[in-house]
Amino acid sequence: MSREIGHASFQRRIAIMVGAGYVPGINAVIMGAAIAAGRLGWEMVGIRDGFDGLLHPERYPEGGLLTLSPELVANLDPTAAGLLGQAPRVDPFHVRRVNEDDMVEEVDMSDQLLSRLQAEDIDALISVVGGRGLSILYKLHRKGLNAVCVPRSIENDIAATAVSFGFNTALSFTIEMLDRVRQAAQSARKIAVVEVLGEQSGWLALQAGIAVCADVVLIPEIPCDLQAVAARLHDKVTPRRPYGLVVVAEGAKLADDGKPQGKPSPLKASLSPLATGDASEHVIQRSGQAAEAVANGLQLLIAEETFPLVLGPWVRGGAPTAVDRQLALGYGAGAVRAVRDGKYGTMMAFVPPDIKFVPLAEAINKVRTVPADSEFMQIALSLGIFLGREL
């Protein structure tokens, strides 16, 4: 069957959607997928704002679906913000709405979603999602949706892939900012305690900390002993080097109570379908707690002055690095190949040296954390970086 759109005739129609929150490189995924689909003679459409363009087309005077024509994607700036927009929530099983009686309720619109896709002649969906979205797409796939997922993560915490797109950009920006903070700490003769993203895994803190040769790096995987951190800083901060740099992942734990102060379990937070507000709000509101807790704790143990800083939300924006741009483009084009080969219920994964398709079941319910025997940890120790306790 072919489908007539304007002067063009398409053999197949597939769609792409983007989950909640901006990650640098989204446009590159869209571009890669649209070009690859076009070369197969398929029409690619983008769903606006998560699933909203499909579930609530009435909200979009210009239509909830955007045809990603070769002309459009040829002019798409891979460094610009996401073309399709984002919705704060992308769970069709729990769509919050105000009903005809003006009462707030959550309804399951997964059946409508599948019907709408069918009505639009869309027979496969590429979803650019993070860890939370993978579970939703897994559930939709089990309900009959032909889904292929592209992993996106600032924290690089999605299991079954060595790298998610977005991480390299965040890492590069974090390193740049840490360099600047160190200069500020140097001139102020203080100890900077900088919180970076990483609620569940410490890749960003560890790799950035290595790059700038931080004095201390605290990650969620290693509950830290503040007394030991203070002792190490006491040794490193001298009259000849009167400053210090401590990098703290936002999910870092203190060893005394085994959990971050005032925070719920981060894994539960990441899996919550019924949070009373928007996921993006959650992250921004919570930022700063780890840096503040560590800076305040250290202040009581050492003579030097500490000051907390938070990089958190700023790292999420900006243009993708060259690495993320090519990875995202490759993931987009690869996802179309997965659709062509009928490899549904899968996620694109970078398994060096290749890009592969792994079953979604292998990617959900896991977090890619820094293993205890990671070479990165050994490298950090070799550079004299203290990781929160004696290892």
Partner: protein, 324 residues
């Protein structure tokens, strides 16, 4: 308006909890019946387990004995992927709430340790009232009775009306706690059986109300005004959950006073300083609490706002202290 006869037989509703010996939910010592289901989504909600209409799963990891000792929920008939044990973590089961949300009471009951439980169950009017009746001697001595709360008790209008009418038949004083965001027909059905209506004025500006609560307050205010006028024999007590940075300001308090003071059956206006007692319940439901960074209001702020209310109600000095 007098009670209309209601036949309570066969009526049932979804009850979250029945709490005895309550002293802040109306006059005297009371038993508060919390009903499931709410039509608002207040970001500060202290009872997240009451929001959904249906009974829902909760998970308490402290009660879980882990995969080695049990591991029942990791296998069929539990949904695939809904429960798991994380690599390199402790042995305790974790929940993928996206996949576990649809578990029902039959599945939850298979958990031998009680780590999995349901919030809410179906009860008949008689079952609830028999439970409430256990403290009838306290009601008589203190002027107390039954209070329906939630969630939003008006979302189950037939059940609520039957409960309250039945309570009156048994000689109990009746009260409800409501936020008022329901069709008027629901209000009209329940209020003839209510002695005291504790009702929320959460925010004044409609757009801000929508931002923090989910819908604007126009219909709510219409309902309250109409209720004051339609049910002159009922006592109304206005309430505001006081949250610094959101509504703990003089402007809001004065706006509420301007709204309620023309109505003589609004006998008081209470401030409910924001608390964070609901945090654990969010964890049991796998949810994220959105107001984690908000603090409880200071005593000075509460006293200042309370003084404005006391002045509006013509109370001063010892008189005001007695009311509190």
């Amino acid at each position: 308006m007098k009670d209309q006869p209601i036949d309570p037989s066969g009526r049932n509703g979804t009850v979250l909890n029945i709490q005895r010996y309550c002293s802040h939910d109306g006059p005297g010592i009371r038993t508060t019946v919390f009903l499931k289901g709410c039509s608002l989504r207040c970001k500060w909600c202290g009872n997240p387990e009451s929001i959904r209409k249906k009974p829902e799963l909760s998970y308490d990891p402290r009660k879980c004995t882990g995969k080695k000792a049990c591991g029942l929920c990791l296998k069929s008939p539990f949904p695939e992927g809904a429960f798991y044990v994380a690599e390199g973590d402790d042995d305790k089961v974790k929940v993928n709430w996206h996949l576990a949300m649809d578990c029902d009471e039959a599945l939850a009951s298979l958990c031998p340790t009680g780590a999995l439980e349901m919030f809410g169950k179906q009860m008949t009017v008689d079952e609830v009232l028999d439970e409430v009746e256990k403290d009838s001697s306290f009601y008589r001595s203190s002027g107390g009775g039954i209070t329906l709360s939630g969630g939003e008790c008006l979302l189950q209008p037939d059940f609520s009306a039957a409960l309250l009418a039945g309570a009156h038949q048994r000689g109990f004083n009746t009260a409800i706690e409501t936020a008022g965001n329901v069709p008027w027909s629901f209000v009209e059905k329940v209020l003839p059986h209510v002695d005291t209506v504790l009702h929320d004025h959460k925010m004044t500006i409609p757009e801000r109300h929508k931002k923090w609560v989910g819908v604007d307050n126009r219909r709510i205010l219409e309902n309250f005004k109409k209720a004051y006028e339609t049910f002159p024999d009922a006592d109304f007590i206005a309430r505001t959950p006081l949250i610094p940075g959101i509504n703990a300001d003089e402007e809001h308090i004065r706006a509420v006073l301007a709204f309620i003071r023309p109505h003589k059956n609004v006998i008081d206006y209470e401030l409910l300083p924001y608390h964070r007692f609901g945090l654990l319940k969010y964890e049991l439901l796998g949810e994220v609490y959105q107001l984690d960074d908000y603090k409880t209001p200071s005593d000075e702020v509460v006293k200042h706002l309370q003084a404005i209310i006391d002045e509006a109600f013509g109370r001063s000095g010892q008189q005001a202290a007695n009311v509190k």
